[in-house]
Symmetry: C2
Subunit: 342 residues, 2 copies
């Protein structure tokens, strides 16, 4: 399958995050893509291609205009205060506080975020735009008849809400792509999010819509980030009721439990009869992931790919998380190879 | 006037905060109280006394029970994970996320906070309890006929909501004291918050009530923490409408502008005819405060004290912020001396 990649993700480098009470280099780092490139190249899963520029209009179909304006100007405002180090939010809203965008960049960072892990550096906005273009180029490929494509997006996207960044995510690449499929005539899209963390942004964006089914398999938010969304009792709302399905699993889950949830999610997707399946591909379910607590092993990703192939729909893989740099390439390549052989 | 102090605040030491994208030692530190003790002692503004224990019942009159349970157990849960360094929240809620208390201590820290500046260490909860007792002992003194008292609370309290910590604050000492005055028969209380930062917690706790008037003079939240509350158009709600008054002022305000706001706030308080005035005394309005942007000079605090004295009501001063350690003692002592001479 075609693999869409851009070196512009490298601009999003040197960022940090608040973890365990300390500011540390972010686990979400450029080496992740380097290792994926190496593994998929080695196995000749390509060919590779550059993304096409699509502009911001398709991004603004799922994101608030003031949020995108903020993302595009945040670094400039941060450095205008004389700061040359990474920008990290520090302040949020207590219940009952007002949703007002402050003048101050420190206030804006809090207004448009929900954690201290969405750090911006000089090249972040360019990398984010490239990521959206990569996902949209994947939509181009599927729309022109390809059976599958891999959008090698970085930074990831599934935690980003319509108006809020968080969890390393700025623009929700998968949501932008799903909306683009709808805008090009798809009647129904299914998003299967297999990242270790709940895709709170993706769920939130499509929560009231029946055209985009969102299925999430992830760590129980009682135990794990994002903590405040991703519970089993979130079925969608209004016309979207019945079109959101969460499969939270406890820490320590191995492929036996995880695969059962995948079967259930796939059954739900089959019932939706989507024109296209979009896979939010995170491999932080891996047993040695440094920030995660599931127990999947590298051969399991072959099974994941094969199960997704059995859906027998045009499939766009969009890269999300996975922080075990030494294994991320193998695990991604296994998923794609399992799909192609499946 | 009697000054209530306890060395138990020293247990809240060695904590940190996220500022400018870096974890740094908190500006809110024990040296603040040391310098206040020195200055008020030198001028013989005392006598000093220890607080009386009042238990948690008066605290639970203004705070949620689950929040107080969290505060009392957070350090134990944090260290049960094997961590011996200060606990700092990292994750909050995007709009649309759910208000669920997670099992995980990292999730709980986010659920019960609104910034990365409310750091807990081993002695935090004990210091917080002592602070509430200090404020309540001040209520005892005023209730037994004293004209004024100074509750030397630390950590401060005015940013703490009923169920949320933030801005160095855990329990809202001023709100606990105001409620205690009401419970002991006061018909009307006025809280005058002169801290540089808006007292969002105090406003929030009494926002729908007519018995406790809350007046805040502070930096415009468009420019300054807490950013999402403290605007001029927040008059109170329901039966509390007309009983909240905000005086936001721009960065760079000196005593000319600040004193005019004080006059306006005092006029509002006189109209309320309170049985008691409670002053949330922050001196981070000082020109050399390291995290603030007002231009008050030390002699101005004599004028503040004198203006408050002109209200001619029993007055409880409750310590809030002020981070210029070298001047905090002088500025607090000036306020109290201005009051006594005024
Ligand atoms: Zn993840
Ligand atoms: Zn303050």
């Amino acid at each position: 399958m075609k693999i869409i990649h851009s070196p512009r993700h490298l601009g999003h480098s040197g960022h940090v995050e608040l973890m365990n009470g300390q500011v540390v280099p972010a686990f979400e780092k450029p080496e992740r893509v380097a290792m994926i490139l190496r593994a998929v190249g080695e196995r000749q899963l390509g060919p590779f291609m550059d993304p096409q520029a699509h502009g911001l209009d398709p991004v603004l179909k799922v994101h608030d205009a003031d949020f995108i304006r903020f993302l595009s100007t945040a670094w400039e405002l941060w450095t205008a205060d004389g700061r040359d180090f990474p920008a990290l939010p520090s302040f949020w809203k207590a219940p009952g506080m007002r949703s007002i965008e402050p003048e101050s960049i420190d206030g804006k960072l809090g207004h448009f975020s929900f954690d201290a892990g969405c750090c911006m550096v000089a090249g972040t906005w360019d990398a984010v735009q490239a990521g959206a273009d990569i996902a949209l180029t994947g939509v181009d490929l599927i729309s022109s008849g390809e059976n599958a494509a891999f959008a090698l997006c970085r930074p990831p996207g599934h935690h980003a809400h319509a108006g809020t960044m968080g969890g390393y995510c700025f623009v929700n690449n998968a949501a932008v792509a799903a909306q683009s499929f709808i805008d090009r005539g798809a009647a129904r899209v299914a998003i299967l999010d297999v990242d270790y963390h709940h895709g709170n942004g993706t769920q939130s964006i499509f929560y009231a819509r029946p055209d985009v089914l969102v299925c999430n398999i992830h760590a129980d938010p009682m135990q794990e980030f994002p903590y405040f969304l991703g519970y089993a009792d979130e079925p969608g709302e209004g016309p979207g009721e019945g079109f959101n399905a969460n499969f939270p699993l406890r820490w320590g889950t191995d492929y036996e439990g995880w695969g059962a949830a995948l079967d259930a999610a796939c059954a739900r997707i089959e019932a939706h009869a989507p024109d296209v399946v979009l896979v939010s591909l995170g491999v932080d379910t891996y047993k040695d992931d440094p920030i995660s607590q599931f127990k999947l092993d590298s051969p399991d990703y072959l099974k994941i790919g094969a199960r997704i192939a059995k859906l027998a729909r045009p499939t766009l893989f969009v890269m999300e998380g996975g922080y075990a740099v030494e294994a991320i390439g193998t695990n991604v390549a296994n998923t794609l190879e399992g799909f192609e052989q499946g």
